[in-house]
Symmetry: C2
Subunit: 128 residues, 2 copies
DNA sequence: CTGTATCCACACTGATACTG
DNA sequence: CAGTATCAGTGTGGATACAG
């Protein structure tokens, strides 16, 4: 046990952008979950993502589109609108993400407690 | 199908820092995987994480310690050293992370392809 | 050995206002 | 309706040097 860690352990596997537990930008996870139930229009996404400004939401959507995780379709009709939907690749991400969500929900409380303890200890260090 | 998305869908579940697929900072995932095999010293971690400056690695380690995912132990001996190891909470994260890693490995190529297509299309738009 | 200090660059986010 | 433009704040990461 405790063999040395190879220096190139993650060189190929993990370019800096491929930390798999740190996928996408701040809102990517929520965007994907919002599209879980089927195609959504931009204005529909803005409801659950009301804290996200349109500029930021647009960028997040474009980034996911760029990576082939969602498909953007423009309907140039009398009342023009745009629909976003998960691609098969994007849909394949739902399961690992749900697992990560479950983990986060189960451990969120203890992480908050740990933070509080850590911060309190730091305060005491400063004081004393 | 296609019911409206509730506006408060993620208010409680996902404060901005609790996007579960975007855990920790840039290097958190790799740090955790480096600790999978047991306790490691700071200098040992620096080998596989050679691209990370000590300042950034320290910050990442402190952040994980703050959240109770790793434990930091100082040995104040003749040759002082520090060991980091996963807590039970930290270890519980290995499985969801491994699943996310598997997904990323399986879909990394197609995501790169999608990016290339997307960028090429954008270039053509500019040109023509 | 295990970090800190300093300076810098830039990406990300956000608020507000505006447009085809 | 579906975005863009602009400006600004902040954090996050990186290079380099230094310290207990």
């Amino acid at each position: 046990m405790r063999e040395p860690l190879p220096a190139d352990m993650f060189d190929e596997l993990c370019p800096s952008s491929l930390n798999p537990i740190r996928f996408g930008d701040k809102w990517a996870g929520l965007v994907i979950r919002c599209l879980e139930g089927g195609p959504r229009r931009f204005s529909e996404l803005r409801v659950p993502l009301s804290r996200v400004t349109p500029k930021v939401l647009t960028r997040s959507l474009r980034s996911l589109e760029r990576d082939g995780l969602i498909k953007r379709t423009v309907y140039a009709e009398a009342t023009p609108h745009v629909e976003y939907e998960l691609t098969p690749t994007g849909r394949s991400m739902l399961e690992p993400m749900a697992i990560a969500c479950t983990w986060a929900e189960q451990h969120w409380d203890e992480m908050l407690d740990a933070r509080e303890s850590y911060d309190n200890a730091a305060s005491l260090d400063q004081a004393g």
